[in-house]
Symmetry: C2
Subunit: 335 residues, 2 copies
DNA sequence: TTGTAAGCGTTATCAT
DNA sequence: ATGATAACGCTTACAA
């Protein structure tokens, strides 16, 4: 009942072995006699011993923890189902391991660099990066720190970073093609942030599809992946292009906002304006009318990223190419 | 460009001072000459030095990190806006500090005790516990470990743990009273898990209000805070009590499920059955019709919990009583 | 198989 | 104000 936690020395004393033997018994038990092993196990149980990670990490140079980095300037993203999916993917991905998850979020009005500094100072063995913007200097920091890392979503720099992604271009193509197929001629889009690869790629998918169909590609407004942002962008888009008969909002949250704007303007969906979203992470099923969308396998994607990171940490050979997951169209009532 | 990170010794050498002086200069700079300070600052910048936390923590016996513990057996809670709010509250609460956040989630089908063990072994300086169930032995583990901790939501054991809470009884009262006020006579409830204090308290608030109004308190079914669970519970509730003219679902997610069930049965809301939820964390505004609910100030509550924890860590005097935040009714179209 | 001893990178104590 | 020096709790050669 002492106030200070027991140390390895205490265990060794209790088990009447040397500290080294105790250590060996505790870590896998290689080269320890059955008797010693039993004695140590006993002592550990009696004392309620649990190794001091700081001390261990000091000598092993491992921390047994990984970071989930979300360098998102907007705290509201926490509300985004995408992030929830990422979190889920990472926790599922490290289930069964002894790894701890350290959450590195950008903080309200905080000087940049804190995250980079943290990553650089050996407090974690590796990192999963999600919701990554072009401007944050994470990629450079990661390279500098030589920290094993896997991005969820294609990073920007030279192809030195590992990543896993959903095929955003294909997804945007599916969505846009659907609108073309149902006979829409004037198809606008509300993009994601254009400093994120998901934003860029989905815009590209939309544009290429329209070009292939011989339709105009001038109607787009940049959005921010939030519902309110989607509503606002829709106002702008409709003001500039009142003749639109379809909108592809590249996230369901934004599509929800668009729905709101369309409703406010008395436009019927899909009769007047067809609408299609992207993500299918729970939001689409709950809108009225139910949103047609493109399923984004985030959990799967993030689990793959985590698996890759674990491989990296284990010294596995570097995978040749990134894993790219395929999205698919989900029928709703809006397109 | 060496592969190993620079150590304090490197800095000291570079700055031409002793390691002790370097250390002092880095930590607050008490009792260091301006020259020495400058030299060290310079060296730190040149070398890109950042202290090794493990080493530091080994001697200071602090880890500069706190845990957010979510001992929730169901991984799906990650989707719950409540959790999102908690996460938000904690990150906001530690903004401006140097604290790191370690996320401790229950993992799919994992032996219990891992979290307790982790908390007990000095890897974090303190903990915020949310979504706590009676059965998990966290409280005991926390006491045993003498780890500073603050619960978000009243814990069960003897009153030894700090906590912050929303006044669930009052919130449930507001909701139920509203239903009474609009003339409903047969008011059922879908409770939260009854091994959680939020579940227990909201049920109590409902019951007391009905008793005071001279109405029956037999119509309740236990729910699980999820939308699907809410839908299922509503089926059961309506089967058992077809005469209900109002339902209080103690979370908006569950209320959403109830809405679905009512709709499926051709019951109009609020004409046939009035409905009121609890939380107001984004869900209520997006249902059709818009849900009447009770605002739950989670972010605020969790920030308070975090502030309390920081105080504890700083050795502040123990607050006499838990902070209890007050919910309030939010008008919608369903009651 | 076991134990001895040497660090891992910091901070803290105590002379100077 | 500064600098030796001794911990902190652990793992890991290396020797026995």
């Amino acid at each position: 009942m002492s106030s200070v936690p027991p140390t390895l020395d205490d265990v060794a004393r209790e088990a009447r072995v040397s500290r080294s033997t105790a250590s060996r018994a505790i870590n896998g038990g290689d080269r320890v006699s059955p008797e010693a092993q039993a004695a140590v196990d006993d002592a550990v149980a009696r004392l309620g011993y649990t190794p001091n990670r700081a001390a261990r990490s000091l000598v092993t140079r491992r921390t047994d923890s990984i970071a989930l980095v979300v360098p998102e300037p907007d705290t509201l993203v926490l509300t985004d189902p995408f992030l929830t999916g990422v979190l889920r993917g990472v926790t599922d991905g490290i289930a069964g391991t002894d790894l701890q998850l350290v959450l590195l979020l950008n903080r309200q009005g905080e000087a940049p660099g804190r995250i980079a500094r943290y990553l650089g100072s050996g407090h974690v063995d590796g990192a999963i990066v999600a919701s990554h913007h072009r401007r944050d200097q994470l990629e450079a920091a990661l390279t500098r720190a030589q920290l094993p890392a896997v991005f969820v979503g294609r990073p920007f720099g030279d192809a030195t970073h590992h990543y896993v992604d959903v095929d955003n271009i294909a997804g945007a193509h599916m969505a846009t093609q659907r609108l073309v197929d149902v006979g829409r001629k004037r198809i606008g889009t509300i993009t994601g942030p254009l400093d994120m690869s998901a934003g860029i790629d989905r815009l590209q998918g939309w544009r290429e599809t329209l070009e292939a169909a011989g339709l105009p590609t001038d109607a787009f407004v940049e959005g921010d992946f939030t519902a309110i942002g989607g509503a606002t962008a829709a106002e702008k888009l409709l003001d500039e292009h009142p003749d639109l008969d379809a909108i592809f909002a590249v996230s369901d949250l934004m599509a929800e906002g668009v729905l709101h704007t369309l409703h406010a303007r008395g436009l019927r969906v899909p009769e007047d304006v067809a609408l299609i979203g992207f993500d299918d992470l729970g939001v689409a099923q709950h809108t009225t009318p139910r949103l047609t969308t493109v399923h984004n396998p985030v959990v799967q994607t993030t689990m793959a990223a985590t698996a890759t990171l674990l491989g990296l940490l284990a010294g596995a050979p570097v995978p040749a190419a990134p894993q790219i997951f395929r999205p698919y169209l989900v029928e709703g009532e809006t397109a």
